[in-house]
Amino acid sequence: MTRKRRRLTVVLLGGLALATAAALVLAAFEDNIVFFHSPSDIATKKELGIDRRLRLGGLVKPESWKKAQDGLTHNFAITDLSHEVPVVYKGIIPDLFREGQGVVVEGRLQSNGSFRADEVLAKHDENYMPPEVAEALRKSGKWKGGADQ
């Protein structure tokens, strides 16, 4: 084996070992790397109780968003189409927040099963297009995505 060959083998084996190690570490920490939990996670996973702060993510359920008289308190439900969690939030919501859109809220579960959020983040999807195109696509029925602003 020439020295070049040996160096090539060392680099390749090192890379393989490193990739394996990284894959194992990432698999082990999976629960800590996820940014938010879904309403189904809340319903099924025991460790997501009222005793800890967590992030809840999903779609804002259509026709669930109600603004209170003070103009600051918002009530809406987050759904992943199989489970839903009612959310209460007092504060300013981001521009992209709308019904049917993705959203991530941070706060605590209450004992009555609702979620008290102190932060609301809007998630936007990976679709970009001019307003006319979105309109045309929805009209033709080929696509049912995102509500217009």
Binding site: L26, F35, K123, H124, Q149
Partner: protein, 245 residues
């Protein structure tokens, strides 16, 4: 082929003939890209005018990863085949890649505030790109930490190879874990994704940034080779004076 350009002189001949072309391509593509980005492309159906941040943010993110991939390949070539120009190339690309990463993080933050409602979150995509930025800084620092530059080259090349594991993590972070950052638009086969009127400025800027990267790397490699030559000549002169003494 690889061995041929290990010779700095041959490499310089090639680099000098390519340089005017990449320089022209950079200027034309970025000017055209900016025109499309700011004047000739429509606002987004949801994000309005804010979507224009994409035309700088996304190409910088591509280049941040492309430059690091370049460093990984150059470092491997330098370590395995002892290719002298490869280490010089890797070192030349590092500050450029770090700048692209910083631009990506800064514009992403400016985009995140109006759209998501936050400057920064510790989700898998954002965190892995921040790690990429620190890998660049670590690579530059380690390469310059030794008096003997060949030891610095070797140590930093090994660091670059280890850091290479971060590239697939950045790319697939949005698919492997749920994140606040949305998944890829361009490398997706499904229907809407990104409309052609918005894809045009994005791709023009992407290719323009690539040409800019190539141009800057060639200029930096040329400067480094020249400065090494000056040092060698100076050392030879001192040596001759001492011997002639």
């Amino acid at each position: 082929m690889l061995q041929k350009y290990a010779n700095p002189k041959r490499f310089l001949t090639l680099a000098n003939s390519v340089l005017p072309w990449t320089t022209c391509a950079t200027v034309i593509l970025i000017v055209a890209g900016l025109y499309f980005a700011f004047a000739a492309s429509p606002p987004d159906y949801q994000q309005g005018q804010t979507v224009r941040i994409m035309y700088v943010h996304v190409p910088s993110a591509w280049m941040a990863m492309f430059a690091y991939a370049f460093i990984v390949v150059a470092s491997a070539v330098g370590l395995i085949w002892k290719h002298p120009v490869a280490h010089v190339g890797a070192l030349a690309a590092a500050p450029i890649g770090a700048c692209f990463t910083l631009i990506c993080l800064a514009t992403g933050s400016l985009w995140g505030k109006p759209m998501w409602g936050t400057w920064w979150v510790w989700d898998a995509r954002l965190t892995s790109v921040l790690i990429l930025f620190f890998l660049y800084l670590g690579f530059i620092a380690l390469a310059n930490a030794f008096d003997d530059s060949s030891r610095g080259e070797k140590a930093s090349a090994i660091l670059a190879l280890i850091g290479g594991i971060n590239l697939p993590i950045i790319k697939f972070s949005v698919d492997w874990w749920n994140t606040l950052h949305q998944p890829a638009s361009v490398s997706k086969i499904d229907m809407p994704s990104i409309h052609s009127s918005m894809l045009t400025p994005l791709l023009l800027m992407g290719i323009g940034f690539t040409a800019l990267f190539v141009t800057l790397v060639i200029i930096r490699v040329r400067a480094e080779l020249a400065s090494r030559r000056i040092n060698a000549l100076r050392a030879a002169k001192i040596h001759a004076e001492v011997a002639g003494g």
